[in-house]
Symmetry: C2
Subunit: 214 residues, 2 copies
Amino acid sequence: MESIRVLVVEDHHVVRQGLVALLNVVDGLEVVGEAADGVEAIAQIRKHQPDVTLIDLRLPRLSGVEVIQRIRMENPPSRFIVLTTYDGDEDIYRALQAGARAYLLKGMTTEELIATIRTVHAGKSHIPPAIAQRLAERMGTEELTPRESDVLEQIVHGKSNKEIATELDISEATVKTHINSLLGKLGVTDRTQAATAAIQRGLVTLESLRKPKQ
Amino acid sequence: MESIRVLVVEDHHVVRQGLVALLNVVDGLEVVGEAADGVEAIAQIRKHQPDVTLIDLRLPRLSGVEVIQRIRMENPPSRFIVLTTYDGDEDIYRALQAGARAYLLKGMTTEELIATIRTVHAGKSHIPPAIAQRLAERMGTEELTPRESDVLEQIVHGKSNKEIATELDISEATVKTHINSLLGKLGVTDRTQAATAAIQRGLVTLESLRKPKQ
DNA sequence: TCCTGAGTCGATCAAAAGGTGGAGAGTGCG
DNA sequence: CGCACTCTCCACCTTTTGATCGACTCAGGA
């Protein structure tokens, strides 16, 4: 019988090694390649045409979501299992939208990992109940408009309404309008809750907090 | 020549396997044990008396910092290398205070890992420049009092001053006093900045945001 | 004992934030 | 074209927040 051909995409060296080491001793699985960033991942997928790709979402150069989107456009049969430590809901959401078939946390057991690879290879999906639930909750919520997202980002960065107005080159009244709207959509009552909700959901990355620009 | 005896403490299965697999092929290193949580870690350290312990800070049952503290009290020669994906500054700070000799990010290369193990085994310390810098910045900042920390936690949870007063059973005036004080200590100007700063520095965990209590 | 730091509270005031309603301009779509 | 949506802005109002005084208690250390 044919082995399932697996590609591992993960930037953390130690984790990647761990995955490869784990998978290589399993019968019926074969690791055909590794990649440490998004660009490399695309090259490897094109080259090896793996049955299943294990992919981290946080990757240098090109995010996991982008990799999935690009590959899905050119080669439908490729299947993705998203692997992450634990970020926000937003990433999960986008990855599944992009066409990932499964989502695994890095705390999983070896058995879960292997079972999921087999499930996905068989053409089925696998979403942990805890994640499925949060995803369902998210479904009911409205999307923020681009401008509202801009404002939210500024809020997370600790800007006052006046500062946001200056930054985005609009009036303070408009800032208030957007805030009022986004508070409602996020289901919160003030900017502090909006900020923590945004961080929690992965709408804004924690890294971006450290650096003032980009 | 004798091998350096290493213990690996890490709850994420995949990462632990990766570390063990990496270390076992290195000459002069020997992995004498593994542990997946803090309690197990203490048992293993007592049993195997490793030269160097690689330890994650986020562990079930007993945190990495607590493990280091307890072991340091009973057996001075044990040496610790803290390993983490990337949390806040606060954890790094406490781990180093507790007696850790080095701090490594999971994105490190195999070479860095091995070199650090050798360095630490030789009795020296190894702190990456980026972390050393942030640590230095932190030194200048004042510590929050226990009560201020309570208030900050409530702020991060999106509570208003009135709600905080009720929650902590003090008057709103007192809440304001504490907030005024902690804003100064954190070097920020409003509660939203305080909230993001707290999350960033690891003063409050993101997990605690999801669950209302505990 | 005196002093310090922490915690508590009050009053007052200015600034910021949030809530509501309305309203015009632009875009894209059926 | 008409409709929906977004973005923009204004006015008015209430509530919240933050800043700055001062003051009392309590515990612990010099």
